[in-house]
């Protein structure tokens, strides 16, 4: 029997050593920090994992030893000594764990204050040729089942955030992909329009819930340009699994260029097809979607679950759509027409939603001609990103 037990312990050990080995390369890996906050979490968690591992080995090895050593071999009929306890031992194994945990808690408190503190970093930007200093801040709004990122370049201080369903107009609004400059601490204000969600980019920081009626502070910072994957981690209903997001970090000068493009309103369509597409947009899509220069955000009545839908002004600058689950582009850089058309044809088929309750994109009953026109119009909205970005942000 002990042999089995031994084999089993080897197996378990294998599992625990594989934790580190197997997780490299995975895009949501929590043990592969790419920013200062996630790094301080990681450098706290790693020693705690090690302490836990050592204690586990002691207890497990101890149990195995007890099995081996004190197993009744039926060599005699004698009864073992009836030991009722040992006061000193009890005190010892109360105090030792207490001291270990006291040590851990000191480092916990230090890290806790680190990850909750904020820098007063200011970034120089120019907007419409005017120099401004921006304290990097992004308003993060969750809803079923996608994320919206709102940039207020004059700062969030004077902005009324009390009603996430009716927010003041922002300079830049994106969804599913948050674009940030590298080397800057970005303060996040996280809230929700409907139920509780949780915003999580494992490589950059832990989670923070998006709670309706509350605005929770959090922060992220990326060392290097790159794409960092995330996933909603608070159960938020039907398509919780299909609520994903990415942080795209770029060098400050590229970020400035991104800002310059994003604050522009949409261009007027030029081709016949895209003009017809705009008419379709204006007759149907404006109920929920916004294109800057065409229609404005409308207020959401208390009786409506949500009629917020992604801002489409620069749709083509984003490489994923429908809550970060579909690629906007093929690997060769051409539009992923098949998926986009399927989405317009019957969205609830592509991603579970309660469309009849106005949660999620409904089936609008478009005919094929309208779909073609609409795709032609959507293609005029925003600039296509580089092929490298398309490759880095690809989702499966």
């Amino acid at each position: 029997m002990f042999k089995k037990e031994f084999k089993f312990s080897v197996f378990l050990l294998g599992i625990f050593t594989l934790i580190s080995a197997c997780s490299s390369g995975a895009e949501l890996d929590t043990l592969n920090p790419k920013g200062p906050t996630s790094r301080s979490i990681d450098s706290l968690a790693d020693p705690v994992f090690m302490i836990a591992g050592v204690v586990f080995l002691i207890i497990f090895g101890g149990t195995a030893l007890l099995w081996l050593r004190f197993r009744d071999d039926h060599s005699d009929e004698e009864f073992p000594d009836q030991i009722h306890g040992n006061f000193r031992l009890e005190i010892l194994w109360t105090l030792v764990p207490t001291l270990i945990l006291a040590g851990v808690s000191v480092f916990t408190l230090i890290t806790l204050s680190e990850i909750n503190g904020t820098d007063d970093n200011v970034m120089a930007l120019s907007v419409d040729g005017e120099a401004i200093s921006w304290e990097p801040e992004v308003l993060v709004v969750g809803q079923q089942w996608w994320w919206e990122y709102r940039y207020y370049l004059d700062g969030l201080d004077g902005v009324d955030l009390s009603d996430a369903r009716n927010l003041p107009p922002a300079d830049i609004i994106t969804s599913t992909q948050m674009v940030v400059p590298t080397g800057e601490e970005i303060e996040l204000k996280i809230t929700s329009r409907d139920v509780i969600h949780s915003h999580w980019i494992p490589a950059l920081n832990g989670k923070r819930d998006a709670v309706p009626g509350r605005v929770s502070p959090w922060k992220i910072e990326a060392d290097e340009p790159g794409v960092y994957f995330g996933q909603c981690t608070e159960f938020c209903g039907l398509s919780h699994a299909r609520m994903r997001m990415q942080v795209v970090a770029m060098e400050p000068e590229n970020f400035q260029a991104w800002i310059n493009r994003q604050i522009e309103p949409a261009l007027e369509p030029t081709t016949e097809s895209s003009k017809r597409g705009k008419e379709v947009y204006e007759s149907l899509c404006v109920r929920c979607h916004v294109v800057k220069g065409v229609n404005d955000e409308t207020s959401i009545g208390a009786d409506l679950v949500s009629n917020a839908a992604p801002n489409l002004t620069h749709l083509m600058s984003r490489t994923t759509f429908a809550g970060g689950i579909f690629n906007m582009y093929e690997p060769d850089g051409s539009l992923n027409r098949t998926q986009l058309e399927a989405w317009l044809r019957n969205a609830p088929e592509e991603k579970p939603a309660y469309a009849e309750g106005r949660r999620g994109m409904p089936n609008l009953g478009l005919d094929e001609g309208q779909i073609d026109d609409l795709v032609a119009y959507l293609e005029t909205l925003g600039e296509k990103p580089t092929i490298e970005t398309i490759a880095a942000t690809e989702v499966e």
Binding site: L12, C22, F49, F56, G85, D209
Partner: protein
């Protein structure tokens, strides 16, 4: 003159009324067959009923778990849709927590607690029956949601506002709110009953610190229930009113703070974790000493660490909310309190190991399961410390790392302990042993399957796989371990299957054979002084208790050299169950009828308020009948001979 006569007349008619009040409220006779089971107030039968019902729900919850694992075996799984998956994981959690682990603990508590303290029954036998029937009514009510095609889909934690009428417009969450409300009544009634039993009905000489550790842990759990259940009751009522009567306790659009639900839920929910685990700690604190042939090491420390866990369990709830945005000060406070609750838990583990140290260990199936708890629960305890570290928890929470953690606690701790209890006390309850060969097979399959299922979840969680997602995409490195887990879960299923086969085979083998005889394990605590299976009246005579492990001390003493020697055989020490003069409480119909009223009210709240009328009438009439039924039935089979016709008997009987 008349005044002197009248009292006599009154006394006679009162006496008659007590025995046959209008013929309406006669008590059932008991006897054999199914009638006996539905009217029983015997704590042992009720314990068996709890166990059987809980095992039934265990199979349902297990099938739900296997379906979840099938869906997640491969990326983009299509076994269940998103909607069905959400219902499945919600019902799996609710079932396993409220309808499996809690009632299995109640099964052991009901059966063993009176026996361990030397009592004839619990303090309130009819209330005891009520607890069971109300629990069963609530559990069945909850599961009928499947039949109406609308099971709860908001998670067992039911976070507002996702559970509100706007976001969960089906009836599922109503079944959740009402079903748990009903089972909550059962828990409360049972908790009161067992507390009174322990405090008032111990055998002479059995001071609190001579009680077995199992009895102690059950006592602590009952106090936790008394204080925790009202909190969830309040939360569920608020949810019910929000959903059905237009209130706005959790509606942020009307200014409510959804964190109110989280606080209420976890103030209940965290003590609930200890409600689930402490009975198992109690069970293995009986099993390990018996099979190590040593007394429990550090008895007072075992008791006080259990009490300490019970107390500290109230100060850690917000560790479920480290990322909810409750502010860094609260996070720091709850982080520290959570870390230090590991200390009394660690004390318990080390004391179990010290009990084994220097013993002569016999690895029968109960001991295998018990040592399984010691090692597997340790994994859960240690991963618990890693997310008590709040900054680390911001990465771990709501990932599979947490799923791994609490399955090591609830499955590796609570369930394996309960299986230890099954194998250990099976001869006590049914008079025959469960097969050792099948038992060992059951243990190893469950242990290996368990580790294959939940061990890799640590890895998946740290790799970033979220909880409660109905599917995942390829490319995140989740494929391998999910497949391993699904295979592991079916190995667990196989283990459970062997358990069921074991029950069947050993019952078949024992048929026609005489019962096992006294004290099959050379055990230590008082329940083994009664014959196996326990006779209806428990003890022939109430034993006088002189020591902790009094039963063992009746069998063993020291010779002149201080060596431990057998001084009496089990046959000499154990009672033979031949007593016939023990007065026993009579069976009653009313606990069952009362309990059946609750589902009517439940369906009424969901489908048509008119249905509440018959439900309400059933409940009120049952309470009335309960109060007015005679204390016992003169013809009833309850061991009381009723030769005494002066009416004194009626005065003497308890008011159960």
């Amino acid at each position: 003159m008349t005044q002197t006569v009248e009292p006599q007349v009154e006394s006679t008619s009162e006496d008659q009324t007590k025995h046959q009040p209008l013929g309406v409220y006669t008590r059932p006779k008991g006897g054999n067959g199914w009638r006996d089971w539905v009217t029983t107030v015997d704590h042992k039968k009720i314990g068996v009923l709890y166990g059987a019902a809980a095992l039934f729900f265990f199979l349902i919850g297990g099938i739900e778990a296997l379906l979840i694992r099938l869906q997640l075996a491969t990326p983009n799984g299509t076994v269940l849709g998103a909607d069905m998956y959400n219902q499945m994981f919600t019902m799996h959690g609710v079932t396993m927590v409220f309808l499996v682990i809690m009632p299995l603990a109640a099964a052991f508590a009901n059966y063993l607690l009176p026996l361990q303290i030397g009592a004839r029954d619990v303090a309130f036998p009819r209330l005891n029956a009520l607890s069971f029937w109300v629990f069963l009514a609530g559990g069945l009510f909850l599961n009928t949601a499947w039949l109406f095609g609308d099971a709860p889909d908001g998670g067992w934690f039911g976070y507002a506002p996702n559970t509100g009428i706007v976001f969960s417009p089906g009836n599922g969450m109503d079944f959740y709110a009402i079903g748990l409300q009903i089972t909550g009544i059962a828990s409360l009634v049972s908790a009161m009953n067992l507390i009174v039993t322990v405090l008032n009905m111990r055998a002479p000489g059995m001071t609190l610190f001579k009680m077995p550790v199992f009895t102690w842990m059950i006592l602590v759990v009952q106090f936790l229930l008394v204080f925790a259940v009202p909190v969830i009751t309040v939360a569920l009522f608020l949810l019910l009113f929000d959903r059905n009567f237009g209130s706005n306790f959790f509606n942020p659009v009307m200014g409510a703070d959804p964190l109110l639900w989280q606080h209420l839920f976890w103030i209940f929910g965290h003590p609930e974790v200890y409600i689930l685990i402490l009975p198992s700690f109690g069970i293995i604190s009986e099993v390990i000493p018996t099979f190590s042939r040593k007394p429990i090491f550090g008895y007072p420390f075992m008791v006080f660490s259990g009490i300490a866990i019970g107390f500290m369990g109230w100060g850690v709830w917000a560790h479920h909310m480290f990322v909810s945005g409750i502010g860094p000060i609260s996070v720091a406070a709850f982080s520290l309190s959570t870390m230090f609750i590991a200390v009394p838990t660690g004390v318990k583990i080390l004391n179990w190991m010290a009990t084994m140290w220097g013993g002569k260990l016999l690895f029968n199936t109960p001991m295998l399961f018990a040592t399984g708890v010691v090692s597997m629960f340790t994994v859960g305890g240690l991963s618990g410390v890693t997310h008590a570290v709040a900054p680390a928890d911001t990465q771990q929470t709501d990932t599979y790392y947490i799923v791994a953690h609490f399955h090591y606690v609830i499955f590796g701790g609570a369930l394996l302990g309960i299986f230890a209890g099954f194998y250990f006390w099976w001869p006590k309850v049914f008079g025959h042993m469960l097969g050792e060969k099948l038992g060992k097979l059951n243990f190893w399959l469950m242990l290996i399957g368990f580790n294959l299922t939940f061990g890799p979840m640590h890895i998946l969680g740290l790799q970033g796989m979220s909880r409660r997602i109905h599917t995942y995409s390829p490319g995140f490195g989740f494929e391998l371990w999910n497949m391993v887990e699904t295979i592991g879960s079916f190995i667990i299923g196989l283990g459970v299957l062997f358990f069921l086969i074991n029950i069947y085979v050993s019952a078949k083998k024992a048929k026609g054979q005489p019962p096992i005889g006294p004290d099959p394990w050379d055990a230590r605590s008082l329940e083994w002084i009664t014959p196996n299976p326990t006779p209806i009246h428990n003890f022939d005579e109430v034993p006088n208790i002189e020591e902790l492990d009094d039963f063992w001390h009746r069998k063993y003493g020291k010779d002149e050299n201080g060596k431990i020697v057998r001084i009496a055989s089990a046959e000499e020490v154990c009672q033979d169950g031949s007593a016939t003069d023990t007065h026993l409480p009579s069976p009653s119909y009313w606990p069952l009828v009362l309990a059946l009223g609750f589902p009517f009210i439940g369906y009424g709240l969901i489908y048509s308020l008119w249905l509440c009328v018959p439900g309400g009438i059933m409940i009120l009439m049952s309470i009335y009948a309960w109060a007015f039924e005679p204390p016992d039935d003169p013809e009833g089979n309850h061991g009381d001979h009723h030769e005494d016709t002066t009416g004194e008997v009626a005065e003497e009987v308890s008011v159960d």
